[in-house]
Symmetry: C2
Subunit: 404 residues, 2 copies
């Protein structure tokens, strides 16, 4: 049911970053569900995590271990190890210890990640048993298998890979993400892992990641539900010939943009695979007074079940978009200044139906698979874009049947 | 598809309040869609309106006319006269003038209300043509027809009627509401009309209504979408033998509670008729620091598509409730203090799955048609309740097909 082309790209290996998968049989036994990522000595690692107050045990542990120069990431799908209390924390620590023993590192150098059903005990014995296989499979050229191993309700594996040239040196950026439901990331996405061979300090890498995530993963929503397990990691192995970047480097803005492009691509892939999605909707709010109110208006539209079902029905029911803008909570909103467009068709001007609008023109846009809604607020200079998908029978089916 | 018993009650006439209906053929020609309510001379009238910035033309006009001692309410279903710009305002004023001419009052004494599809021109000629019939039909004992005339996607007419005794005098309270979708009233509901024969000043009546609505219509949500046309009106004809109430009257708190009971009943009826609803969910947040955060947590749960689809599936997927509490945005939420119950079954304690919880016990509650979710925050003394319904295939079907 994914929207548009979702082919898995050719993934360029990143020197110094190895990946190994195995089937631990956590939820099913048909495919790999465990992934170990090993970073070369001296690599930097940045990460952002969910802001959900009920964050999962692995998030608590990974957040703590981020400061300890991590060398391993351990990711399992099929079980979120969330809402699992004291035992969940013990299990997350246990998995780190097991990885550390294999790799002769300390447990604090392992960051654990889990994704899947909430509230069931992590089958830690199965995970520990499968670890040696993941280690045996560690290879730099293993992103395809890795991206499949972290999937849950995803219908396709999500990858991005690009070799950029900066000041005569090549830099590789390769990443993957997963997620299709419980998606309204807040400071991070469900799970995203991006690697590069850049030379960069941890603190600068963390700044790059935070800025990129804010404009990518934090601008998408499937259902408004922020997961307990969201995390996005950026690894930099330092193996590129490009000299180490500092805050003053001319290369830094180029690198920053390249990381943001990677995050945006991976974030968009999540929306294309939104649970039950048949359409990709870009909601573009312009002329806001600030970023916060632009995002507020865009997300109110993106979360409206009435707007989302109208898109599913390809119904140009623009009144629902207008009503969502009106209830978005922006203070002193002057509806007389507002215009709304479906692609390039003006549907609302001066707060009412545009005189030039025809149902036929609206229908033509609504029949497309990818649609941009542009809301011009007429009160400032700031624009922001949020990506979402429509709301279909299949969303209900997928989430009504998820645990059965 | 309505939840539970939704029989229309026996409606006691309210002296001094007459209702007349007609079929104007606004959207369909099968049933009455136009209602005129006439208040006796000297009646007080209070009203609250939607906070949506894009409020409909009739809301703008009714809000203005509220101060002019209104004698008539004119309500049409089938067309919201919202998003209709300058022409919509002209049409709303036109309808007031037409009523005023019939009744030999001024146009400012008429409050117009519209509900139905957004963004289409109000068929004002049809309305004006049907007005004489509504006037000819004016009767005190006409609530049954009136409640049907204001329906849109409602599957049953919603009424409430009670005769209360205060200080040896009888007071009648009779009201009706409509609404099934685009329901997250903010200061008012889709449409609610309550009448009483109490003697009470407009300002005191307005206070009573605002307080009652805050704890009733403002505590329900179907889909989180606040309509452009929400309005709730309370009329007091002054025909009761009970002497006029003042702010000091011992009778006032009794009256206030009776009005709140009426509003609560009518609000609950809207949720029982929520679009596609198969279950009525009461979300009860206790031990909050203040009312605002209690409502914030309750509404986050009530709006979660994942929680709502789990209820539809009768799946005790409590992890979704926990995740919604965690993302509700309450600052410094200590998850260790939180307990969550499905009816009387404890599902979460100290932030994790309750040790006493069994899937069988959770399933038993989820199989019911009416379920109470109780969230104990453990950080204060304040409790609040929000009512919602589940999210079914039929919600998608109804809203995908609405205009076709």
């Amino acid at each position: 049911m994914a929207v548009g082309k979702c082919e898995f790209p050719q993934m360029h290996a990143v020197a110094g970053i190895k990946l190994g998968t195995a089937c631990a049989g956590i939820k099913q036994t048909e495919r790999d569900d465990l992934l170990l990522i090993e970073m070369a000595e001296g690599a930097s690692c940045a990460a952002v995590f969910t802001q959900n107050a009920f964050c999962a045990a692995p998030v608590l542990v990974a957040r703590e271990h981020l400061a300890m120069q991590p060398r391993y990431l351990l990711i399992n799908s099929g079980n979120a190890n969330a809402g699992t209390g004291e035992q969940g924390l013990l299990d997350a620590h246990h998995s780190c210890t097991a990885v550390a023993q294999l790799g002769e590192k300390s447990a604090e150098q392992v960051m654990p990640f889990s994704t899947g059903v909430i509230g069931e005990a992590l089958p830690i014995a199965k995970i520990v048993a499968a670890l040696p296989e993941t280690q045996a499979n560690l290879m730099e050229d293993n992103w395809h298998k890795a991206a499949h191993a972290i999937m849950t309700t995803d219908t396709f594996a999500k990858g991005y890979s690009k070799v950029v040239e900066i000041e005569g040196h090549t830099l590789t950026i390769t990443g993957m993400s997963k997620g299709a439901g419980m998606i309204q990331p807040n400071m991070a996405t469900m799970l995203g892992f991006v690697a590069t061979d850049a030379n960069i300090s941890q603190s600068l890498l963390q700044q790059c990641l935070a800025a990129a995530v804010e404009q990518s993963f934090n601008r998408i929503t499937v259902d408004g539900d922020t997961s307990t397990n969201d995390a996005c990691v950026l690894m930099a192995s330092g193996k590129s010939t490009l000299p180490e970047m500092t805050a003053e480097s001319a290369a830094l803005p180029v690198f920053q943009q390249a990381i943001q492009d990677a995050c945006m691509h991976l974030a968009e892939a999540i929306i294309r695979d939104g649970e039950g999605a048949t359409k990709l909707i870009k909601i573009n709010v312009q002329q806001a007074q600030n970023e916060a109110e632009a995002v507020q208006v865009a997300k109110t539209i993106a979360h409206s079940p009435l707007v989302k079902t109208a898109f599913f029905a390809s119904d140009p029911n623009w009144g629902r978009i207008l009503a969502a803008v009106g209830r978005s909570g922006v203070e002193r909103l002057d509806v007389e200044q507002i215009s709304i467009y479906l692609d390039d068709v003006c549907i609302v001007e001066k707060g009412g139906r545009a005189t030039s609008y025809t149902e036929a023109a609206g229908q033509k846009v609504m029949d497309k698979e990818e649609i941009t809604v542009t809301v011009v607020l007429g009160r400032g200079e700031v624009g922001q874009q949020v990506l979402t998908c429509d709301f279909s029978y299949d969303y209900v089916r997928i989430n009504a049947e998820y645990r059965t």
